[in-house]
Amino acid sequence: MSQIKIVNLQKSFGDFTAVKNSNLTINDKEFFVLLGPSGCGKTTTLRMIAGLELPTSGEIYLGDEEVGMLRASERDIAFVFQLFALYPHMNVRNNLSFPLKMQGYKKSDIKNRVEEAAKLLRIDHILNSNISSLSGGDRQRVALGRALVRRPKAFLMDEPLGTLDAEFRELMCLELKKLHLDIGATTVYVTHDQLEAMSLADRIAVMDGGEILQADEPNIIYNKPKTKFVASFIGSPGMNFFEVNEGISKDQSFVNIEGAKFDIPKQLEESKGSKNFFGIRPENLTLNNNEGLKGSVFGVEYLGSRKIITVKTSLGEIKVKTDISVNVKLNENVQVKPSNNNIIIFDGETDKSLNSEFIK
């Protein structure tokens, strides 16, 4: 097991730059998730770590060794593909022993290792089955088995749960997490699903347009996003943003918008221009009838334990996550008010969050 470090990594396909000057350190035994929308460069980054793509410039370290220009077969990493890529002309046992055969292990060693891995993944009863007869979940387990049977330096996974149905995905998420705790392997996992990322990761790197915007623990990514994109990409429903045409100065503690007073955390940095965005999570807003931003109820979504109420205001549509006991009708006039001062202000020019007491 090893630390993975990428330094100034860049990848271009012709004129298109898929990954821009990225730097990351993935610690030994860490479960690290690369998260971002499609086309953000997360898979390209992963494929460069694997050796399936060669970087245009920059370095990749696996442990202490610089591997950027080595072939995939020389890197001692395992890769789990989105479509599993199990060899259809071999049965489960042969799929699992395929990587070991190349490394010249003895037959008895191969057998032991395959059976050990199969037991760990609870696929020991289907070792002699054909791949085509397996369910999606079992295929997933075989793909994981083929990766871990070799005990590589690191596991790389490219949306391995993407093709499973929702119910099964949750189950596999738990299994993956447990597997990671059991074998403690450095894992890099690519997904566009923020829930998957939040529930699996020790740390998440959010990518967009080929750049790594923020790499932090899940709760920091959620509560203290460094850019407006990170804030909007994480959370469901997403963060509310209001445009504020007013500069924010240092030590400022409130702002008046459309006649409503918004308490903000004490600012440690002033904004560059006069256009800024307020970011408030839906759970940090409440509805009432006498103070705050005026609006009317536009939609009510019932989520079991919570309700999402969409309010149309002069600043646009605002989503409020409330208790189910709150009863509002469509088109009813309500007022929206923050329940605390956990407001993040994003600079209108740079899209970066301004430092405050809340987000340092």
Partner: protein, 314 residues
């Protein structure tokens, strides 16, 4: 209304119609072949009798004549010989002839085998490598090259017969197995590359990537992971290549005489007394049909899958 079947399923009437059309087509196709097989079991007289005999007494004379050389002898000479040792000697002597040795047929037949299977193997092997490269790598001028390869099929191969004849004579490839294998491989290769490229394109590249991550080189991944999955395409391609090189006549007539002559130019030259020996020709053709038939039947499962492969994406 009959609701036991889905709208998409053909009605029983159209199924019967389809069956009838297929049967008619099969009969039309099979008449010449069955006539040929029948001729091979006739004797020399009934083969050329008029009106043609549909019912006849079967005889193996054609097959005996195919495999032997014979000469006519006088009755006294025949009487002086010891009694015939086996049934075919007896058959030959009843025609007042003696067997003087084996004919050239077996040699020609094995030439056909060597050249047919040799060129099929070479076309499929080289075709698979080229198709893989075209399918996976960024080959400069890829589309132009593919078109250029195909252009060799745009004229009848015999159009280049004279230059090839001269070339082969200079190179010493005329009337050799190697020369014929090379020639048929060249003709078949473009078809093989195009057919196999389609199959290779359908195989997700993740399989090789997985194998390469598992520690295999690209070439090893190609043999262990890609080729087994392309078996369907390889079978279909092999059948097309085999049928061409097995049946090829024009080049075989032109370029081979003794060492490497294949069966197609040999069979029609079997001459009996006072004309062509039709039962022997029928027998030769029937035997000639067998290998391709067996080869196709063995690979039929793959062929059917192969022809429809890629029509519907999984």
């Amino acid at each position: 209304m009959d609701t036991s079947r889905s709208y998409l399923e053909p009605s029983s009437f159209s199924k019967k119609m389809a069956a009838a059309i297929i049967i008619v087509y099969a009969v039309i196709t099979l008449i010449p072949i069955s006539w040929m097989v029948m001729t091979s079991f006739k004797n020399v007289d009934s083969a050329i009798s008029y009106p043609p005999e549909v019912l006849f007494e079967p005889s193996l004379e054609g097959y005996v004549n195919l495999f032997t050389n014979r000469s006519r002898q006088s009755q006294e000479y025949l009487d002086s010989l010891p009694p015939p040792e086996n049934w075919y000697e007896e058959l030959v002597r009843s025609r007042e002839m003696v067997i003087t040795g084996p004919s050239k047929f077996l040699g020609r037949y094995s030439n056909s085998m060597i050249i047919g299977f040799g060129s099929t193997f070479a076309s499929v092997f080289l075709g698979a490598l080229a198709a893989y490269a075209f399918s996976r790598f960024r080959v400069p001028l890829k589309d132009d090259l593919l078109f250029f390869i195909l252009s060799t099929r745009m004229f009848p191969p015999i159009a280049v017969a004279v230059p090839i004849f001269i070339m082969y004579r200079k190179l010493g490839l005329g009337d050799t197995h190697l020369g014929m294998i090379i020639l048929y491989t060249v003709v078949n290769l473009s078809l093989a590359v195009w057919l196999l490229k389609g199959f290779m394109d359908e195989i997700p590249k993740e399989y090789e990537e997985a194998a390469m991550i598992d520690g295999y080189s690209r070439l090893q991944a190609f043999f262990k992971v890609v080729l087994p999955q392309a078996m369907t395409g390889i079978a279909a391609t092999a059948i097309f290549c085999m049928i061409f090189s097995w049946n090829e006549y024009a080049f075989a007539v032109l370029l081979t005489q003794f060492n490497a002559q294949t069966a197609p130019p040999f069979i029609p030259t079997i001459i009996g007394e006072g004309g062509l020996d039709w039962p022997a020709i029928g027998a030769g053709t029937t035997l000639f049909l067998l290998p391709v038939m067996i080869f196709t039947i063995i690979l039929r499962k793959h062929l059917l899958r192969g022809i429809t492969f890629g029509a519907v994406r999984k």
